[in-house]
């Protein structure tokens, strides 16, 4: 066994274990446990001992028995070194150690002699660590958003680290913020407006985009190349440079504070990417199928309706979902065009709520949960379509 690779193995694996245990400790602190020390160095040391013991024992005993007994001993040591902590916390430590020792399975005194083993060890653990790190960094704000909506401002000011939920309270107490924002702040109305604008945008965009995309994909006409390049260039221009002229014109036409005005703007800004995505897909449909339609005496309208649309439903679905998401999440135009609470969209309503410093944060977060949940559900449920939409669209947020 090479000494160098063993040393790297011990340090890296123990470092990894220390990191996960620290994350576990942070999460436990947020449940109201009063830890004040991450205890990094002692945990790192016993982590090294654990890995060393693992490699030294090798295959002499059954893997399961080995990991269970090692984890048990580790948790016991951890319990002694750490500040006073409840049993569920130590049980969590035990499970993490179990997971960790199970991951060590492929490292034996034999495997530590392989070529490039130190690099492989580093890569393996960086991968594991990276996945946990990314998952933590991504999900943590969402977690805070969700639990804050169940707490109260006063409780959080007293102890900003206690996010534990009291499930002994009645459901109406637990979901109080949600009742309040629906009753006092009228969120039911904003949900309706947001849905109407988003769904309307999807329908109108598809009505305009499908024929245009078909023409770009299939027909020959003067200015076609110019059109398809300008689609992309137009897309690079940001909403912020459109805002002042649109604001002035909409003010004079009385289109501000109207859902219709918002719908036109959303449609126009999503049209280029919708056309771009659809024409790419239409091009991939074999032309022979259409020729059969022409033989049957169909006109262009019939071909689009009876041949193209049924064949490209997956692409249309991904464009629709994508446009829905853009319209639902859109903020800048709703900020500029809507001043009256009567016509607010959800995003604008939340921004309006936050403008009042008196608004308790749990209401703000409850509103945020309400605006986030539909998009996340749609995303999780239709991930396949959306991902292909995102990659095909390639340009747009």
């Amino acid at each position: 066994m090479k000494f160098k690779s063993l040393a790297i193995f011990l340090i890296i694996s123990s470092f990894f274990l220390t990191c996960i245990l620290s994350i576990w400790k942070i999460m436990a602190t947020l449940q109201g446990l009063s830890f004040t020390n991450l205890n990094i160095s002692p945990i790192f040391l016993i982590g090294i001992l654990l890995s060393l013991a693992f490699v030294l024992i090798g295959n002499k005993i059954n893997h399961l028995i080995k990991i269970f007994s090692l984890s048990f001993i580790f948790s016991f040591l951890y319990f002694y070194l750490n500040e006073a902590s409840p049993y569920w916390y130590i049980f969590g430590v035990f499970l993490i150690t179990l997971f960790f020792t199970n991951k060590l399975k492929k490292y034996t005194t034999q495997s530590l002699k392989e070529d490039f083993i130190s690099e492989k060890i580093i890569f393996d653990f960086i991968t594991l660590f990276g996945i946990i790190f990314f998952a933590f960094v991504i999900l943590f704000p969402f977690y805070i958003m969700l639990v804050t909506s169940f707490k109260t401002q006063i409780a959080l000011l007293v102890n900003p680290l206690d996010f534990s939920l009291d499930f002994t309270k009645s459901l109406t107490d637990l979901f109080k913020s949600y009742f309040v924002i629906f009753k006092t702040y009228n969120f039911g109305r904003y949900i309706l407006i947001s849905s109407a604008v988003s769904i309307g945008t999807v329908i109108v965009t598809l009505l305009f985009a499908i024929p245009a995309a078909y023409a770009v994909a299939r027909l020959n006409f003067f200015g076609k190349n110019f059109l398809s390049t300008s689609i992309l260039i137009i897309y690079m221009f940001p909403a912020i440079v459109l805002v002042i002229p649109l604001y002035t014109v909409f003010s004079q036409l009385g289109l501000r504070n109207s859902i219709f005005g918002l719908l036109i703007v959303y449609t126009a800004t999503t049209l280029p990417v919708a056309i771009y995505m659809l024409q790419g897909y239409f091009k991939s449909i074999p032309k022979e199928i259409e020729d059969a339609g022409i033989m049957d005496g169909q006109n262009w309208f019939g071909i689009i309706l009876k041949i193209i649309i049924p064949l490209s439903l997956p692409a249309i679905a991904s464009v629709a979902l994508y446009v829905f998401m853009i319209a639902w999440n859109e903020f800048l135009f709703s900020l500029m065009f809507l001043d009256s609470p009567k016509s607010f969209t959800l995003s604008r309503a939340i921004q309006y709520l936050s403008g009042d410093a008196e608004t308790p944060r749990q209401y703000l977060m409850a509103g945020s949960v309400i605006v986030t949940l539909p998009v996340l559900f749609i995303f999780i449920y239709f991930e396949k379509y959306l991902v292909s939409g995102l990659t095909a669209g390639s340009v747009k947020e």
Binding site: F116, T248, A268
Partner: protein, 419 residues
């Protein structure tokens, strides 16, 4: 294909394309050009309403005699700066009701009062009174009189359409408001936001591309920040980073990593010392950049992952046989395969970060040294209400964008077609 068929084809194509093109022209292209027009005018937010004559109707009983009523119209010019020419007034009355002692500017004909008020100066106000009686001595229903709204019309110039131009706005953009710092902040934000997002994207893609369990779930989770609504995410971060009761500061203080809470979004500079060298870091701007990276690395991740999955496995196997180390494999196989997509991503993200408004606006509102060009458009146009200035800044943005695009098409446009 015969001539008539190709003519038909052309006509169909135009019919199919035209609605979409017109809409995009009206809402996207027209405003970009309209900015040029507005930026050459000395015009403020309050000037954009076309002045209109207005009247508020008040109905009063004069005496016990309910067959007689006094009506007061509070007339005014809605504009404080512009006159309205040739104001016409019209109001209807029920049968048998007619005015007495009517103002000489008015006529009463077939149940209608029609008046010609001539020109109204800016800020014009007048209380215009009429007394009406019922010819048969019956009681006049006040509600009916009140429910009838007077109609006013008049001619006024649209301040947007006048033809007096000035270059004052551009002078102000370049010589006031610290233009150099504005530009530097914008580029700092754009560059580091872009590079950071791509680096994290490469890392994440490399991780997810390994053979691990739950790979698809991981891909889904990594895209959360990208698909979530910006308002919700920005406010969550604001709460998280709050110096007084934010979770992050509380955690760091709790574990004795820092002594005092740091106002990550409200402090312009922080002094750091590394190896004895002291330097100032743009704190709020850096925090905003981290948010930006957090939100947009998923896009880079998605593209790079798609590219990584298309790399033939045989390349890696061959390298394995040749005894290449993991690092060598990454440098000699993976990196060359993803440089094309990275250069495209760099350009796209660069342009989009350059345009970014919402994220900064929601996190800091442009305070503490996070004022970028797009934020400045909003501040000039809506906070200071000088829409001429706002448009001038927009023009600067458009010009810079156009030059980026030219560079882009020169440098990597050709390569983009190969991917």
């Amino acid at each position: 294909m015969s001539d008539s068929l190709s003519k038909l084809e052309k006509r169909t194509a135009y019919t199919l394309v035209l609605p979409a093109v017109l809409l995009v022209f009206a809402i996207v292209l027209f405003p970009i050009f309209a900015n040029v027009w507005i930026s050459l005018k000395d015009i403020e937010l309050k000037d954009i309403r076309i002045p209109e004559p207005r009247a508020k109707k008040i109905v009063k009983s004069i005496s016990e005699n309910q067959s007689e009523l006094k009506i007061i119209y509070k007339l005014r010019n809605s504009s404080l700066i512009q006159e309205i020419r040739n104001v016409q007034f019209q109001d209807k009355f029920p049968t048998n009701v007619s005015p007495i002692n009517l103002d000489p500017r008015c006529n009463f004909q077939s149940k209608k009062i029609v008046c010609n008020f001539g020109n109204w100066q800016a800020k014009y106000r007048e209380n215009f009174e009429i007394t009406v009686v019922n010819n048969k001595g019956e009681i006049i229903d006040k509600k009916i009189i009140k429910s009838q709204k007077p109609i006013l019309s008049g001619k006024a110039d649209n301040p947007l359409l006048t033809t007096n131009f000035t270059l004052e706005n551009f002078k102000k953009v370049f010589y006031e408001n610290n233009f150099v710092e504005l530009l530097l902040t914008t580029f700092y934000f754009t560059f580091f936001g872009t590079v950071g997002a791509i680096i994290f994207g490469i890392l994440a893609a490399q991780l997810v591309n390994q053979n691990i369990q739950g790979r698809t779930y991981m891909r889904g989770i990594l895209l959360f920040p990208y698909v979530g609504p910006v308002v919700a995410l920005a406010y969550t971060w604001t709460l998280l980073l709050d110096p007084n009761s934010g979770t992050l500061n509380a955690l760091l203080v709790n574990f004795n990593i820092i002594e005092q809470p740091i106002n990550l979004l409200g402090q312009k500079y922080i002094t750091m010392s590394i190896l004895g060298f002291e330097f100032k870091l743009r704190l709020a701007l850096t925090t905003v950049i981290f948010f930006e990276i957090w939100r947009y690395f998923p896009l880079a991740f998605l593209f790079i992952l798609a590219r990584l999955q298309a790399i033939p496995q045989s390349l890696y196997e061959a390298a394995e046989v040749d005894g290449a180390s993991p690092i060598q494999k990454f440098i000699h196989i993976t990196l060359p395969q993803i440089t094309a997509i990275i250069s495209i991503l760099f350009m796209i993200r660069f342009i989009w970060n350059f345009n970014k408004f919402e994220d900064i606006f929601l996190l800091t509102g442009g305070a503490s040294g996070t004022r970028t060009l797009p934020i400045n458009v909003y501040q000039q146009g809506f906070a200071v209400s000088d829409i001429g200035m706002g448009s001038a800044v927009s023009i600067v943005i458009v010009m810079l964008l156009l030059s980026f695009m030219i560079i882009y098409f020169r440098l990597i446009g050709k390569r983009a077609n190969e991917v």
